[in-house]
């Protein structure tokens, strides 16, 4: 097929049109796509553009930030550092997400903006929430209640350890005897 190979000058459609007009390609010899292109033209003429040329580049896209990002930043800076997430396991909702959700709940209740964060922390602590206490800037509130929680949890932990020793022995025997059926495995995965 005769064609002009100057691919950067114009789109394929206009170049083909030129060839047809000047009788280099017969109307009956036009390629398959010509009619389809004519009936359903693309959004923009597929012409080569160069950044150095006169073509106007669209403005830079905006940066995406949400209200939750602010809250999250506050949380990591002032309340508790970021924790590792194991994507493989079915972990519970991470710390900061519960913080944000409770924040929105409190907001719906109609509290003032300044007191909102303190209120959310209070409610979370009241629920028995445990914050990691690695930061210097933590609220006094958290320190006090964390100490209490720790003291409670230590006593519980000691009891658990003694129990675990007994359980682990019996567990070992049980797991060895279990025949894993294929169906149950499939359900898990």
């Amino acid at each position: 097929m005769a064609q002009s190979r100057i691919n950067k000058a114009a789109s394929i459609y206009t170049r083909l049109n030129g060839l047809i007009k000047s009788n280099l390609i017969k109307w009956s010899d036009r390629p398959l796509w010509y009619d389809i292109y004519k009936a359903f033209p693309p959004q923009r003429d597929p012409i080569y553009r160069s950044v150095l040329g006169n073509d106007v580049v669209a403005p830079l896209p905006k940066k995406l930030y949400y209200k939750e990002d602010e809250l999250r930043a506050y949380f990591f800076k002032n309340i508790s550092p970021i924790e590792t997430i194991v994507l493989n396991s079915n972990m519970q909702q991470p710390n900061w997400e519960t913080f944000i959700s409770t924040y929105y709940e409190m907001e719906k209740m109609g509290l003032k903006k300044e007191s909102l964060i303190d209120a959310t922390i209070e409610t979370l602590l009241a629920k028995g929430f445990y914050f990691k206490n690695n930061l210097k800037k933590t609220n006094n509130l958290i320190e006090q209640t964390n100490d209490k929680n720790n003291a409670e949890s230590d006593s519980v932990k000691n009891e658990m350890k003694t129990l675990e020793g007994e359980i682990s022995k019996s567990n070992l025997i049980e797991t060895a005897n279990v025949n894993v059926s294929p169906d149950s495995n499939n359900q898990k995965l």
Binding site: M1, A2, S22, L24, S28, D29, P182, N186, L189
Partner: protein
């Protein structure tokens, strides 16, 4: 018989004669049109002529559906048909010429033209036109044109111009088809393995040394991958070394899969049994002395050096007979050359258990010692067990060094060395 071959080439493809009979397209100014377009116009005109006379070699075309722009679409096919017709007429002409040439030759040799075979032709040409040209392809010949003209390919596309193979546009569909099958098989095995592991209740892939699963993996001991030339011949394709190496890596990966035994027939296409360089059956039997002592005789040449060896069972005596006189191991000055002689015995662990008698001629010292080493290890094969022969092979003692002497260059003292040069 060179003139016969030349006459074959003198006749062009008769394109000029054909194209002159076509409807004139010269009126259109050629400056505007590209040559390519002109050719295609001619082709279209020809296709209509050919279509009436020749039949298609296949019948997958439904003419009804291809009515729209039929001329445009069948351009590739018409070109192919035209080429085929050209070739046919050429071959017809050439075979006639060959028959006449054969008869002339038979007459010259005074033999019967009817019973004159190809062997007779070769013999008589060698007699009439003896040639000392190094390259055998350059020597004069007379053959049937089918034997030396490139064979015509089957069309790779249908009458509507659509290629028959889905990887046609890659340019090497035969080879890439094999790779495509290989990858699909590998992925299928992976899927199967995952499913099986789910049933067995383990998520880790089966370890390579897992004995229970050795039955499911293909066993490749005693075989090697097919080499590139054989592969090209077997599947009738051309692949370069780079893609061949990649292909072998892929094959290796498939073969190492834990379930590769399922694809045994596929992998088996690319496997050749391993052939050791020295077969046990090829090793000559031991000779016996007048006193009944077993020995072996050998002659080895390397570059200009010639070594005639006799190896006896004994206790480590060495006799070397050179043109200058008789010597023992002291014939070789440097320690490395002496070690070369002993090395084969060291590998088999039989130092001081054989006597050597050598006749040495020509060559430099290192070349002689190397030839002697090869001769000794080859002769040793007759005495020792198969395991020891394998040891010798692995040590590289059973391969001869076939490198010739590098030639002296003009303007230089030797092969590499330059003349000493002083500025003033």
């Amino acid at each position: 018989m060179n003139f016969l071959k030349l006459s074959h080439l003198l006749n062009p493809l008769k394109i000029n004669a054909l194209s002159s009979s076509l409807p004139a397209t010269k009126k259109i100014s050629t400056t505007v049109m590209s040559n390519f377009y002109l050719n295609s116009l001619k082709l279209n005109a020809k296709a209509s002529q050919l279509a009436s006379t020749t039949k298609l070699p296949f019948s997958d075309a439904d003419d009804k559906s291809n009515n729209e722009r039929a001329e445009n679409i069948s351009r590739a096919m018409s070109y192919y048909l035209e080429k085929m017709a050209e070739r046919e007429s050429l071959m017809k002409f050439k075979t006639e010429e060959f028959e006449i040439g054969k008869r002339h030759l038979a007459k010259m040799m005074g033999e019967n033209a009817e019973t004159f075979t190809q062997d007779d032709i070769n013999r008589s040409i060698e007699y009439l036109l003896p040639s000392g040209l190094f390259n055998k392809k350059a020597r004069p010949f007379l053959k049937h044109p089918e034997d030396y003209y490139p064979k015509s390919k089957l069309a790779a596309f249908g009458s509507d111009g659509r290629p028959l193979h889905h990887l046609f546009y890659t340019g090497n569909p035969d080879f890439y088809q094999i790779i495509y099958e290989l990858t699909q098989k590998y992925l299928n095995l992976n899927r199967l393995e995952d499913a099986m592991n789910l049933i067995k209740g383990r998520m880790k892939t089966i370890h390579k040394t897992d004995e229970a699963d050795l039955n499911t993996r293909i066993n490749l001991t005693g075989s090697v991958w097919i080499d590139r030339n054989k592969l090209n011949v077997k599947f009738n394709m051309k692949i370069d070394e780079l893609s061949y190496n990649k292909f072998i890596i892929m094959l290796q990966k498939l073969a190492e899969h834990s379930l590769s035994k399922r694809e045994e027939t596929f992998i088996g296409q690319f496997i050749v049994p391993f052939e050791p360089p020295i077969k046990l059956s090829d090793i000559p039997a031991l000779l016996k002395d007048e006193t009944g002592r077993p020995y072996q005789e050998l002659e080895v040449r390397q570059r200009t050096a010639i070594v005639k060896l006799k190896l006896y069972e004994g206790n480590g005596k060495i006799k070397i007979k050179a043109p200058e006189g008789n010597f023992n191991i002291n014939f070789f000055d440097s320690l490395t050359q002496r070690e070369q002689l002993l090395f084969p015995f060291k590998v088999v662990d039989k130092i001081n258990k054989f006597d050597i008698e050598m006749e040495v001629n020509n060559g430099g010292m290192s070349c002689l010692s190397k030839a002697a080493r090869y001769a000794i290890s080859k002769a040793l094969c007759c005495f020792v067990s198969a395991d020891s022969i394998e040891k010798l092979r692995l040590a590289g003692l059973l391969t001869s060094d076939s490198r010739p002497k590098e030639r002296k260059k003009p303007g230089q003292e030797g092969a590499r060395r330059r003349y000493t040069w002083k500025k003033r």
